[in-house]
Structure formats: structure tokens, C-alpha cells
């Protein structure tokens, strides 16, 4: 138990050295660390938003939206595929979406098989199961085809929409010029956005929620205004509201062109009025030119998130692929719209479901109070230990300090985040480390009291106590793992520190102190044991 071969001593020293080396950067200012040579550990501990101040926002996507978008996309595809089917267009009626499915009636029963075949080819394989497709095609009542998006198909669509949403959000936040935002997916349909140092999240939230779907559609000039006011539109048209003025306008359902192909968008001024200029990529520019050329003299609507911003008349073909959106913008709203258009549209609508903002004063106060309390806790515990166990107490305290430093080192190395509950976890770990040493020292005392010699007392003390320490700590690890897997936010932060702390405290409190005791025994060969 007390024999340490050279290789063991060296591996213990090496482990300690590595752990401590990674803790070092935390004691220097960031600017100093940046100038260190590259082979030295650089990473500093990440502080949670509760400690450094900033905004935390949890967004949730409406998955029904994804289903709807998928069905709408499917409707377009069905229309064009049936037109271009093998052996000429397939005639159909009643193409409609209701109850989460798309249904269509094939007029000519002899073409039914061709139609089903054509539509089956449109579906794509999804998921890990073989044979599973994103849309199920079935025939009812002889000539009616039902297309139902499968759960796996929706899940795939949600997944890709979320991945895309994270990218869009990142671009939008970058536009705000904020420092090191964290944007991560959480679960199936959520995104966490954390922006350190941000005090007023209203600007951020205004940017995050907007879908920013830009469309250009022709205005239906033949529609009856009275019918439109009642919310009814002729077939192939729809009634839309204006973004910033009362009244409605009827537009064709068919989209002339969407904003997907925009490459740039900037706020600017025209006749003293704030406007937003935009530019298409070359393919988009050609389509835009063609669409405008065909419709010279007609009014068209510029639509953002299903609200009409303005409906100007096309005076000339717009050939350069660039244009201007005018409406009643302020400088700020023009800038916002430009940012939204530049970053692209969100594939789903996102809603804020949780939001926490911590001011910088509170964060600084918390760090100060947390550090002060930790130091006080270590000092108080150290005094108690040294008073109670003398030399063995000193060893325990050295181990305790090494333990705290190693936790900091490992957390920095892993890039883990220290939160307020994490600091409390640190205190608990100090408790666990102390407990290990108390167990050992009390055992040694007991054995010594029974009249055993110095070396046997220490050996038996370490051996018996170690078993108990393993039992107790494996239980704690189980609890920590449960906390980490099932807990949320603060509980996770606590569990991280606890798990790392349990590992390091067993190492420092058992192995490292034993090494120290063994060295002392072999150097001094003490004749009495004071404990």
C-alpha cells in the first residue's frame, strides 16, 4: 500500500503537472495569455452568463409550420410533375391540402397508374429503415390520390429546417456585431442563443423571430374590391394585408420570384426617403428581368412574411438584377429589413419561450462573492483539518488545494462552463475531498489506538477507508450522471463540476496524500504517530 515504484511516482507527478498547467492561464488576464508561446495551454475557463452577464434566449420552432411548408412545396411539385408525366400531361382536379394531407383527383381513370407512378418517383427515401419514404402515396375511391407526409419525412424536414435556421440566426447575430455568440440546437426543435455582455435583448429578439420570407407576386387587378374586403379572392389569387397600412390587396398566388436568390441588400435613401436596395445573383437576376419584362405596366406586390410592403408598378424591365423596395420605412426599420434579407429567410417561425438576462454588475458581484466564499470555505476547512489531524491534516489541505486547481485545469481543458451552481458544486467537492481524508485519518487513528505500529496503522487505514471511499463516490457519480442527463441548465452546470470533482478528489485525497505520507515515512522513519 505504501510502496511506490518510480513509474507510479512519475505518473502521479505528471498527472498533477498537466492538470495544474491547464489551470495556470486562469490566473492571468486574457491579453497576457494571448501573447504566450503556442505550446503553452491557453484556454481559460468559460464563465456562464450568470457570472459574466448577458442574454440567454431559448427559441422553439413550430413544427406544424414545417408540415405546412412541406405540403405546399409538394403541391407545386405534384402540379408540375403531372404536367410533365410520361405519355403527356395527366389531367386532374381538386388539388387541395386539408387535414395534413394533400389530395388530388385524376380525371381520366386510365391514367391513374401513370399518375401514381409519377408521384411515387417524387418521394425520397428517409431515415435508417430501408424502404421508408418521406411521403406516402395511396389511392382511395378509385381515382383519388392521397399524399401523406410520413413521421420520418417530417422529422427529416424539421431536422434540415433547424440546421438551416441555426445558420440564418448566426448570420443575423453577426450582423449585429455582437461578440462570440453561442448558437446551439437543443433537442428536436429548439435553439439556444447566448450572447455574453448583451444588456437589452429587444433588438436581438426582433431579428430572431422574423421569418423574412420575401416574395414578389403580381397584383390581381381584376379582383372585386368588395369581395376582397370580405376576405374572398378569385381562384388562383389571395387576399393579403398591408404591413403598415389598413386595407387589403388581392395578389396572384403564383410567385413571380422569391428573395431566396438575393445576394445583397442595403439600406439607402431615395428622394429623402429611407428605402432598401437589393441585388439578385445572376440566375435570379435573369429571372427577375424576364418576369419584369413580361409584365411591364402591371403593378406587383413586394411581400414580406405574407404582408405587403408596397405594390409599385413595373415601369420598365429591370435588367441589372438590382432593385429598390420603398415603403414607409424609418432609417432603423430599413436597416433591419436589409439585415433580414441579407441573412436569408428562416425556414420555420421561431418563438421565444425562455429568456434570461443578467446585468454586468450582478455577474461581477457573483464572481466576487463566489470567489470570496470559496476562499473562506477552503481556509475554514483547512484550519479545522490541520487542528484535528496535525501533519496528516496538512497533507489533506495540500491535496485539497491541488484538487481545486485540477478541477479548474480540467474544466479549462475541456472547455466546460463554470456557472453559479457550478461554484456551489465546487464547495460540495471540497466537502467530498475532505470526507475522503477524514475517513482515512479516522481509520488510522482507530488502528493506532488498537496498538498497531505506525506503518501497519497507516496501511490498514488507507486500505479500509479506500473501499468505503469508492462505494460512496461511485454512488455520487451515479447521481451526477443522472443530474447531467435529466437536469436542465443550472443542474447540468452543477453536475459537470461534481463529476470532474469526484474524479479529481479521489485522486488527490487518496493517491496523492498516500504518496506524501509514504515519502514522509521513508525519509524520517518516525517513531511515534501523532494523529
Amino acid at each position: 500500500m505504501l510502496d511506490f515504484p518510480q513509474w507510479k511516482i512519475w505518473s502521479i507527478m505528471l498527472t498533477l503537472f498537466v492538470g495544474l498547467a491547464f489551470a495556470v492561464p486562469n490566473f492571468f488576464p486574457e491579453a497576457t495569455v494571448a501573447n504566450w508561446p503556442s505550446w503553452v495551454p491557453h484556454k481559460q475557463l468559460n464563465l456562464g452568463l450568470d457570472l459574466r452577464g448577458g442574454s440567454h434566449i431559448l427559441l422553439e420552432a413550430n413544427t406544424d409550420d414545417v408540415r405546412k411548408t412541406k405540403l405546399e412545396g409538394l403541391e407545386e411539385t405534384v402540379r408540375s410533375e403531372l404536367r410533365g408525366a410520361d405519355g403527356g400531361p395527366v389531367a386532374f382536379t381538386d388539388l387541395s391540402i386539408s387535414g395534413g394531407v394533400l389530395s388530388i383527383t385524376i380525371t381520366d381513370p386510365t391514367r391513374l397508374d401513370t399518375a401514381v407512378e409519377t408521384l411515387r418517383n417524387v418521394t425520397r427515401p428517409v431515415g435508417s429503415l430501408s424502404g421508408q419514404r418521406d411521403v406516402e402515396v395511396s389511392v382511395v375511391d378509385g381515382n383519388r390520390i392521397i399524399l401523406t407526409p410520413t413521421d420520418a419525412g417530417i422529422a427529416t424536414a424539421v431536422n434540415s429546417a433547424m440546421t438551416q435556421a441555426v445558420e440564418v440566426i448566426r448570420r443575423r447575430i453577426d450582423e449585429l456585431g455582437t461578440r462570440e455568440p453561442t448558437i446551439v440546437r437543443q433537442g428536436d426543435n429548439r435553439i439556444v442563443v447566448q450572447v455574453p455582455g448583451l444588456q437589452d435583448p429587444s433588438a436581438l429578439k426582433a431579428l430572431l423571430g422574423k421569418t423574412a420570407k420575401l416574395e414578389f407576386k403580381l397584383v390581381d387587378v381584376d379582383a372585386d374590391p368588395a369581395e376582397a374586403a370580405a376576405g374572398r379572392a378569385p381562384p388562383g389569387s389571395q387576399v393579403l394585408q398591408y404591413a403598415d397600412q389598413p386595407g387589403v390587396i388581392v395578389v396572384k398566388r403564383r410567385v413571380m420570384i422569391t428573395g431566396d436568390q438575393l445576394v445583397d441588400s442595403q439600406p439607402s435613401f431615395q428622394d429623402g426617403q429611407a428605402v432598401v436596395s437589393f441585388r439578385f445573383d445572376s440566375a435570379g437576376g435573369r429571372r427577375f428581368a424576364k418576369a419584369t419584362q413580361e409584365n411591364i405596366g402591371k403593378p406587383f406586390a413586394i411581400i414580406l412574411d405574407n404582408k405587403v410592403i408596397s405594390a409599385p408598378r413595373i415601369n420598365d424591365a429591370i435588367l441589372g438584377g438590382a432593385g429598390i423596395i420603398s415603403g414607409s420605412f424609418t432609417t432603423e426599420s430599413a436597416n433591419n429589413l436589409a439585415v433580414l434579407l441579407r441573412s436569408g429567410k428562416l425556414p420555420v417561425e421561431l418563438k421565444v419561450i425562455e429568456e434570461r438576462t443578467v446585468g454586468p454588475d450582478l455577474g461581477a458581484d457573483s464572481i466576487r462573492a463566489g470567489a470570496l466564499a470559496s476562499i473562506a470555505a477552503v481556509l475554514a476547512v483547512a484550519t479545522l483539518m490541520i487542528l484535528t489531524y496535525g501533519r496528516f491534516g496538512i497533507y489533506s489541505v495540500i491535496a485539497l488545494v491541488l484538487n481545486v486547481l485540477m478541477i479548474l485545469g480540467i474544466m479549462s481543458m475541456l472547455g466546460a462552463t463554470l456557472t453559479l451552481p457550478g461554484i456551489a458544486g465546487l464547495v460540495l467537492t471540497i466537502g467530498a475531498a475532505v470526507d475522503a481524508n477524514v475517513l482515512i485519518n479516522e481509520r488510522i487513528r482507530e488502528e493506532a489506538r488498537k496498538g498497531r505500529g505506525i506503518v501497519p496503522s497507516i496501511e490498514v487505514g488507507y486500505r479500509d477507508a479506500t473501499r468505503t471511499i469508492w462505494d460512496a463516490n461511485s454512488l455520487n457519480i451515479i447521481v451526477a450522471v443522472i443530474m447531467f442527463s435529466f437536469g436542465s441548465g443550472p443542474i447540468k452546470g452543477f453536475a459537470v463540476v461534481l463529476s470532474i470533482g469526484i474524479a479529481t478528489s479521489v485522486f488527490t485525497a487518496v493517491t496523492v496524500t498516500r504518496l506524501m505520507v509514504a515519502r514522509w515515512l521513508s525519509r524520517r522513519r518516525p517513531s511515534t504517530l501523532v494523529i
Partner: protein, 323 residues
């Protein structure tokens, strides 16, 4: 010379006191349940949803006046609470309806009004949680607590015997209930941090019990002829210096946290402190004595039943109920 908190070779009859201890434990548990039923927990926005603002004033405000002031802004029913000191107030409002920026609008409105009435105020923290998220947080929190308990029971059962599993879980349920009762009594805000504290209490209290259980098992092997009562007393007494020392170290560390640490974790630290005291009590007085009531057998009892050597005796202990 070193300090000894507990004298050597104590011989306190914990087993003899067990009926008093059981009575006290039942009283504490029932009392806590009653408090929970009558007063309930002061659930934070984490669990009920809503909007919380931590506002620091230059001088202590009049709570009633402040409440009237905030409610006069037509933002819903406000509930106020001092937080850490009498200049820092936690203002709680229902979650505003509306679009993404509705929360900021309410905060801005309150901020402007308080600035006008009270001069310099600082909004240190703003949190809003929707009902959906708070529901999930409750479920996740409760699940984490229940799963931890189940894992503990399973572990002690496998590692020791079922008696230990049962006695440990009974003691843990008591620890958790008393902690909850404390929160019902003081009406300290019950938030996610407190759930972390409860999990920690479970972990700590468990640690205590495992240490004693370990010793009981060891002594059961060592002293075959001894009755179970004296063995439990011996084990608890032998581990008493360790129990007291460790609890004291934890109490010292947590007191430092409570007095000097940030206000945000006051509830957390208070819960842990109480949990340590209650957990230590239940380890010493309740969980080990409970083993007798559960009918644990010593090797000597068992070997009378089946005098065919140790292995069978050891199994007999596991399967034979007492009388």
C-alpha cells in the same frame, strides 16, 4: 497534540433511543407534509412561468407603495420579495401576451416608471419563462430526483442487502421532505437551483449512510457472536468521529457560502446546510436502527437456523425474514 471533536471509544446507545428517533422523524415528516399542504412552496418562474426582475434601489423602498406603483402600470398582478437585502427587490409579473418583444416592452415600462419615482435603479437580472418550458422544468427536476433515489436504492441493494436499500431510501425520503418543508415554512423561492441542492443532499446523505452501512457489514463479519443491536451501536459509534468531522467541515464551508456568497444562491446554500444537518441526523439515529425493525439478522442468528457453514448462513441472512 491534535484536536478531538469526539472522544475516543464513545459508546452511545443509539439503538436504544430509536423509538424516540422514529417518533421525531415521523413528526418532522408529517409536519413537513402539513406545511407543504397548507402553505405550499413559493415556486419561482422556473416552475410556474412568468417574468421576474431583480431590481436594486438606492434606498429601501416601501413594498406596498412599490407594488401599487407597478400594478398601476397595468402589467398584471405583481408579487414582490426582498432578495438578499432590503434594497434589492424581486418583482414578479405574469408573462405578457404578445409578440417577441412584449417582455422588453413591460420591462422598459417598469424601468422608466421606477426611474422617475425612485431615482437611480438598476435592473440586475430579468428572466422570463413560458408556461411550456416551466412545465418541462418541473418534470425534468422531479424525474431527476426520483431517478436518483431509485438508482440509490438499486445500488445499495446490489452492493449490500435489501435491508440497507430500504432503510437508506426511507431516510432519504425523510431528508428530502424535511428540506421541502423548510422551503414551505420560510417561503424562500423554490427554483431550479434548489432542485440541484436537493440532489446534492441526496448524494451527501447517502455518502453518510454508505459509510455506516459499510462498517456494519464489516462488523457483522468480524463479530459473529454479537447481537445486531450492539453491532449497530458499535458501528455508529466507531464512525461517529468521521460523521461529525465531515458534517462540520461541510457546515463550515456552506456557512461561508451562505454569509459571503452571492445572493442568487442563498436558497441553494440554505437548502444544502439544512440538508446536511438533517441528513447527518437521519444517518446516525434513523437509517441504521431501522435495520433492526426491518429484521436484519446477524451471522449468529442465521447460523443457528442453518448450521452448515458460513456461505449458507450468509445466504440465509438474505432470504429468511425474522420470525
Amino acid at each position: 497534540m491534535t484536536l478531538k471533536l469526539v472522544p475516543d471509544n464513545t459508546n452511545i446507545g443509539f439503538v436504544r433511543m430509536r423509538y424516540w428517533a422514529f417518533a421525531l422523524t415521523i413528526a418532522l415528516t408529517l409536519g413537513s407534509l402539513a406545511l407543504l399542504g397548507i402553505r405550499g412552496l413559493n415556486l419561482g418562474v422556473d416552475f410556474v412561468g412568468g417574468l421576474t426582475m431583480e431590481v436594486e434601489f438606492k434606498s429601501p423602498p416601501q413594498l406596498d407603495g412599490l407594488r401599487a406603483e407597478v400594478e398601476g402600470l397595468n402589467v398584471g398582478k405583481a408579487s414582490l420579495q426582498e432578495f438578499g437585502n432590503n434594497r434589492t427587490i424581486l418583482i414578479r409579473l405574469p408573462l405578457p401576451e404578445g409578440d417577441q418583444t412584449a417582455v422588453q416592452k413591460v420591462v422598459a415600462k417598469v424601468q422608466a416608471d421606477l426611474k422617475a419615482k425612485y431615482g437611480e435603479v438598476s435592473f440586475r437580472r430579468v428572466e422570463s419563462v413560458s408556461g411550456k418550458v416551466s412545465q418541462e422544468l418541473i418534470q425534468k427536476g422531479a424525474l431527476a430526483v426520483l431517478l436518483s433515489m431509485a438508482a440509490v436504492a438499486l445500488f445499495t441493494w446490489i452492493r449490500f442487502e435489501w435491508y440497507f436499500g430500504v432503510s437508506t431510501v426511507v431516510a432519504l425520503v425523510h431528508d428530502v421532505l424535511v428540506t421541502l418543508g423548510f422551503f414551505a415554512l420560510t417561503q424562500l423561492e423554490f427554483d431550479l437551483n434548489v432542485i440541484a441542492a436537493i440532489l446534492t443532499i441526496i448524494g451527501y446523505s447517502l455518502n453518510d449512510k454508505v459509510v455506516i452501512d459499510d462498517r456494519i457489514r464489516e462488523n457483522l463479519r468480524k463479530y459473529r457472536k454479537m447481537d445486531i443491536g450492539p453491532i449497530i451501536d458499535l458501528s455508529v459509534n466507531e464512525t461517529l468521529p468521521r460523521t461529525v468531522m465531515t458534517s462540520l467541515a461541510m457546515i463550515v464551508a456552506l456557512t461561508a457560502m451562505l454569509l459571503l456568497g452571492p445572493d442568487v444562491i442563498f436558497g441553494f446554500t440554505a437548502a444544502m446546510l439544512l440538508g446536511i444537518v438533517v441528513g447527518t441526523y437521519s444517518s446516525i439515529f434513523v437509517s441504521s436502527s431501522l435495520l433492526i425493525s426491518l429484521g436484519i439478522k446477524t451471522r449468529s442468528d442465521a447460523s443457528e437456523d442453518a448450521p452448515r457453514g458460513e456461505r449458507i448462513a450468509a445466504r440465509a441472512e438474505r432470504v429468511a425474514p425474522r420470525k
